[in-house]
Amino acid sequence: MDKIKVLVAKPGLDGHDRGAKVVARALRDAGMEVIYTGLRQTPEMVVEAALQEDVDFVALSILSGAHMTIFPRVLEKLREAGLDHVVLTGGGIIPPEDMDKLHQMGINKLFGPGTSLEEIVNYFKEEGAKKKVS
């Protein structure tokens, strides 16, 4: 019984966690195990939590505009910790051109405002299924 495990985190000083909670709840309702860290996490804390909880995904919610700093930092720390197998994804107010840049750095799919929960859940299911097979 391998469950898809997702760490949902709110890095930085941004305190708007409604979106993170709604997504966490949707993933839970889709049968996944979701660890929610709460607010004001540093990249180091996020990666340590990912390591201790042995998750398949780290999903960051960033609405503060700090995405170009935080996503690359978390990716770097994940790699340093040897967690290359963990998929880094997330969402927030992220302009399309920034999304492109982040993809090129190795960050997986990012979701902007207006995304349906169904689309998000399907993404996690499809990516998760790939990982559990390999």
Partner: protein, 322 residues
Amino acid sequence: MNYNDAAFLTERIPLGDKRALSRAITLVENEDPRALKIERDLYSLTGKAYRVGITGPPGAGKSTLVNVLAKEFKSRGNKVGIIAVDPTSPFTGGALLGDRIRMGAALADHEIFMRSMASRGGTGGLARTTTQVADVMDSFGFDVLIIETVGVGQLELDIAGAVDTTVVVLVPEAGGGVQAMKAGLIEIADIFAINKADRDGAEILKSELQDALSLMPAIKNGSWDLPVKLTVALEGRGVKELVDTVYKHKEHLEASGKFHKNRQSQAEIKIRDIVRAEIGKRLWMNPSLKSVLDSLSGFCVEGKIDPYSAARTFLQSAEAQR
């Protein structure tokens, strides 16, 4: 460096590799075939961690209390591990594990290892595999293991069989002394913590609880006078005293010989569980016994045989097959 290989993991865990520990826990939780080897090979290293259980109703402040307790144990020079169980949805199989939210500062320096577990069908306040996960964590070299249950009612009591000291957390609104005279949760406590004690009613609950306890025959604890401690976990108040009390209970267990006795009965429970699972596998997975069962259950419905005689017949055919 293969974190999917059981032999590699068992080699790395005693060396302090957190990633190896984390992966091994996943295998145990998933009841993966590889977990058996890990549990077996590491078992000789277990037994050193003192296990403290934190249980109580939802919203009593268990997670917040675990946070400050962990910090207090750590400040006394202990390596601390935490297992926090949250409920799995019986409808979707999903779970939202939120115990890290309350941990904030205690986890920031990465010295405390905390693992969230979904209950995954466990009905006694823990997951089915929580004890095995605790054993694997024990072999990593923790001095203190804190195990937090899901928010419980009166009858989710697995924790008492999994730890050395059980702390039952209540809040001032928990109800008076009559609640304390009921069976169940109240009986498994080694220590009571009345959390959120800055609210009205904490002192009253404390004296009512003590009253009720003085009338109860000492079922579990013998000569141990059940302490009732007041805490305000959010502000860290009463936490030093609570940890002191845990140590007093530990001394009591060791001095009275109950420490060893409790651990032995916990080992017995483990063996019984494994035997039960093994017998179950042999009986219910055996195709020819399955057909015996099928025909017997058919006779039952037709009224040709009663379930007791059917069970006897079934056991006789199982015996004959050995």
